[in-house]
Amino acid sequence: MTREKTEGVTTGNTTLLESSALTPKTAHGSMDSFSLPFATWEAWAPGRNTRQEWTAPPPEALDTAGPSADISFVDPMLRRRLGPVARAALNVAQRCLGERTGVPMVFASRHGELARTLTMLNDLAAGEEVSPATFSLSVHNASAGVFSIARQDTAPATAIAAGDETLGMALIEAAARLSPEQPQILLVYADAPAPDLYAQDIASAETPHALALLLDLHGPCQLHVATQCTSTAPSTDMMGLSLLRLLAGHSPCETWTGERSTWQWTLADA
């Protein structure tokens, strides 16, 4: 990227950010940062279904297995085929959004429904027919689609994946879409461990978890995010768990390092 282009992007962002309540910070060296106003958050992991269970001290290690997230708000005929990742995503999305409708959404997951894709690849390799239902739910925006159908809510939704830094990229995606015209954006992140076949490609220890963050220009809280190219070894846990330690109040400042970048988050009142 040329210097000229970089400045262009910065100017463009500054214009966008100044028109909203987002606060741009001047970059020092290669550090980039932004602040995201938000209204509320919800999270899920096996055995942890409420805000109280997340904020209660001391924070214990998360269970790696347990019953799937409750999504009884979804019609049984619609929810019957959903897997654990989609159930976790819909659970936190519903609790965070409540009765609000028309809020644009960013769904994010590193692996998505990778287990379904693997099932299909195995079927193809064995010369078997691929299940149409498995295919329909293996696509990355399947959770967003089912959520939209379940709530009869036609708000736009994006589904993204960006390796081990998926959650951070989802925050950037959501920040870019937040504007006076779209003063609220729901960010939904959910993941479960990748199938064993892929274990050698996954650096961090993975546990199932999901979180939803309702960004709101008029929200009472600010999430400050700073990121820079990393020069240290990647963190051993997942990015979502780092952000959740901060949101749940177990840590005033969190730093997490992925394959490419180091991320720092802090909270402040708006």
Partner: protein
């Protein structure tokens, strides 16, 4: 209801992940799609694959009779019986 009726009802339940249902819960004359059992278009495709695997019934999407056969458990039983007779 004979064995084939029960078998196809169970195939529908197992293939389409119908939670908390047993073969006896499905009215063999009730519509499978829309108002009756409430199956959707993905279910129709999934059921087509299952029938092909289980009974070697080949279905052509352009064949207008397929729609008629997919109306209820009774018509699916009819389909399987006819194809079996024809191929026997």
């Amino acid at each position: 209801m004979d064995t084939l009726h029960t078998e196809i009802s169970q195939l529908i339940i197992d293939t389409l992940d119908l939670e908390d249902m047993s073969a006896a819960d499905i009215d063999p004359a009730a519509p499978l799609f829309g108002d009756g059992l409430g199956l959707d278009s993905i279910d129709a495709l999934e059921l087509g694959v299952a029938l092909r695997k289980r009974y070697q019934v080949r279905l052509d999407g352009d064949d207008p009779s397929v729609k008629r056969y997919f109306q209820s458990v009774n018509t699916l039983v009819e389909l399987v019986r006819e194809r079996r007779t024809n191929e026997a």
